[in-house]
């Protein structure tokens, strides 16, 4: 126990003295997530809000053939722009991207209306352009409601109630809470937490293995009358301490970042108050041992500091794979999924953020399976330290 404690204290002291590494480990990881997140959220808020509130300019060919429609569009926060002459120039300008959409009203529009024939209007747009498609939708829904209005007048003129042509009335009831909608965006949170956590211990994991070997301090250390497994545990525990610190910092920074983001404008109300932060912290805590052991194990096999950095860079991506698959398949928490580290934490975090009840059995399985895998890897590290190949 004294050996483990001695190694732990020394590695912690050593890491704290290495200011620059410490700063990058404890600040970069925890800040990277919230900053990127704030950037993405603000961008999507800007776009969503601006497109709904902005007056939409609708280029129209042949506006003079439909003065009533023109007035209707203007009442729906759109302005009609004239200047294009023909259907061909309209198509061309949309293809070239000069205009996002063009409305083409043929000369016979008025006559067809008068004769109660379906009056043709052409809406030219490029569906591959998301922003343009959103604008085209606005115009389309305006046209449809204009069409409904005309239909109602026609029926009333013939003494028929407009209700007759609505045999079915659809009432949509959306059960997704506003917290639920947050889940898609907040799904990335779990990866940021794991990333920050791994970053927090990465340098220590490298320094205590490949770094010691490169510096030439590993061989005298192994020549000491100390059990090698205990040296290893001390090193893993020191990495764990900094990973816990980084995890905590990243959660706190997320907590503050979310408070300053106008999420309510997107209809998002994530449940990430102090209590949820604490719960999330406890749910992610078992992953620390697993991460530390895994990084130490991988770094032990490498021959130099640089090689270790390369490998651990890849390793950082490993926990994303289950999260990525989960997002693609839209997986919901299931008993067997709780045995997969990183995936189980991700799914539990989503439920927590969505403010849905957390299944305690799931939490138990997640904690125990992650912890036992971590303990197994730590034991493997200790075994590895008895190998002489370690010295390279």
């Amino acid at each position: 126990m004294r050996t483990v404690g001695t190694v732990f204290c020394k590695e912690v002291l050593d890491n704290i003295r290495d200011r620059r590494t410490l700063l990058s480990a404890l600040l970069m990881g925890p800040l990277f997530g919230p900053v990127l997140f704030a950037f993405v959220i603000n961008l999507s808020i800007d776009r969503a809000i601006s497109s709904a509130e902005k007056t939409l300019e609708v280029p129209v060919v042949g506006a003079e053939f439909a003065p009533n429609l023109q007035r209707y569009l203007e009442s729906r926060n759109m302005t009609v722009v004239e200047g294009l002459e023909s259907y061909e120039t309209a198509v061309e300008s949309v293809k070239l991207g000069t205009h996002d959409l063009v409305l083409v009203i043929p000369a016979e529009f008025g006559e067809q209306l008068r004769n109660s024939l379906p009056a043709r209007i052409e809406l030219v747009s490029n569906a591959a352009d998301t922003a343009a498609a959103r604008d085209a939708n606005r115009v389309r829904s305006a046209l449809q409601s204009y069409s409904h209005e005309l239909a109602s007048y026609r029926l009333m003129a013939r003494g028929v109630s407009p209700i007759v042509v609505r045999p079915i009335s659809i009432d949509e009831i959306d059960v997704s809470t506003s917290s639920g909608r947050s889940a898609i965006l907040l799904g990335m949170m779990s990866y940021f937490f794991i990333f920050a956590m791994l970053m927090g211990g990465m340098y220590l994991a490298i320094d205590t293995t490949a770094g010691e070997r490169e510096r030439g301090s590993l061989e005298p250390l192994l020549a000491l009358p100390a059990t090698r497994g205990r040296l290893m545990f001390g090193k893993i525990l020191a990495a764990c301490l900094f990973m816990i610190l980084a995890l905590f910092l990243s959660m706190v920074s997320f907590y503050f970042a979310l408070r300053f983001m106008p999420l309510d404008k997107l209809g998002l109300t994530p449940n990430f108050g102090p209590q949820a932060v604490l719960l999330a912290f406890l749910m992610f805590l078992p992953f620390v041992l697993l991460g530390a052991s895994l990084m130490t194990l991988v770094a032990s096999f490498t021959k130099s500091y640089k090689e270790a950095q390369t490998w651990l860079g890849f390793l950082m991506l490993l926990p994303t794979l289950p999260i990525l698959v989960a997002s693609l398949l839209n997986l919901r928490p299931r008993t067997e999924l709780m045995f997969v580290p990183s995936l189980s934490q991700h799914l539990l975090l989503i439920d927590l953020v969505k403010n849905e009840p957390i299944n305690l059995l799931y939490v138990l399985i997640s904690v125990l399976s992650t912890l036992s895998l971590g303990a197994l890897l730590a034991w493997l590290c200790a075994r590895l330290y008895r190998r002489e190949g370690l010295l390279g």
């Binding site: 050996t3 001695t6 020394k10 002291l13 301090s217 061989e219 020549a223 009358p225 100390a226 002489e388």
Partner: protein, 243 residues
């Protein structure tokens, strides 16, 4: 007391050590002498239990280096070739770390650390971080670190490498002091003069085998040579060494 009995060690296809045997008694300085790549370091690494021999046995104070490696390490202080220090720790902290790992009792630890700092004459740099130390300063701190648990057996792999004249002289003086205290000292070198001037017993290794061993006089008599350098060349040629 260090005893090596017919040890062998392979690295892949390379047969680095092929049956080395010798013993290093207490109160004497034993020198392993040999050209580069002769198997000196490998032999020493087996002794301080970082490598396991493929065949043969070695023991320190009667503790087998394979089956009782922890006990063997407890009575040994080793200075591996190119020992690195922790640059963010001060010289004293480096030594203290090793003292704790060696299990020096808490109430004796300060006394022991300060004692070794005194012995190696590094008081003036004891509280400085070791980053930027000269090679001589580094070697002295590394040696202090290796000796802090007061081991009976001392293994030094090329200790004078990279040291200037003054540092070498200081180290030599220290080794002689340790010898007078009855310690068993085993050191390796490829510098003939150094071994000749310092060691009581010389073991010449070439091609992973012992070419000849004994006191300097024994070796001169055995090879019919007048000086050690010639004796060295004659001895290693017997093993089929080809330079």
């Amino acid at each position: 007391m260090i005893r090596v009995d017919d040890i062998h060690k392979h690295f892949g296809k390379v047969h680095a050590v092929r049956g080395v045997s010798f013993s290093a008694p207490n109160g004497r300085i034993t020198g392993l002498l040999g050209p580069n790549g002769a198997g000196k370091s490998t032999t020493l690494r087996v002794l301080y239990t970082v490598l396991k021999p493929d065949a043969g046995a070695a023991s320190i104070d009667g503790k087998d280096v394979v089956t009782e490696s922890l006990e063997a390490r407890r009575v040994t202080g080793a200075l591996p070739h190119g020992s690195g220090l922790y640059p963010h720790l001060s010289a004293r902290e480096n030594i203290l770390y090793y003292a704790r790992l060696c299990g020096v009792p808490r109430n004796k630890i300060d006394e022991q650390v300060d004692g070794i700092i005194e012995l190696l004459d590094i008081k003036d740099i004891a509280h400085r971080r070791t980053k930027g130390f000269s090679q001589g300063q580094r070697t002295r701190v590394a040696l202090a670190r290796a000796l802090v648990h007061d081991p009976q057996n001392i293994i030094l792999d090329e200790p004078t490498n990279g040291l200037d004249v003054m540092a070498t002289r200081a180290l030599r003086k220290l080794i002689l002091t340790l010898k007078d205290n009855g310690r068993c000292i085993l050191l390796s070198s490829h510098v003939m003069q150094e071994v000749g001037a310092l060691c009581d017993d010389i073991v010449i290794i070439a091609n992973g085998q012992v070419a000849i061993s004994g006191t300097a006089d024994d070796i001169l008599n055995d090879t019919n040579c007048d000086d050690l350098e010639e004796a060295f060349v004659t001895a290693i040629q017997r093993t089929g060494y080809d330079d």
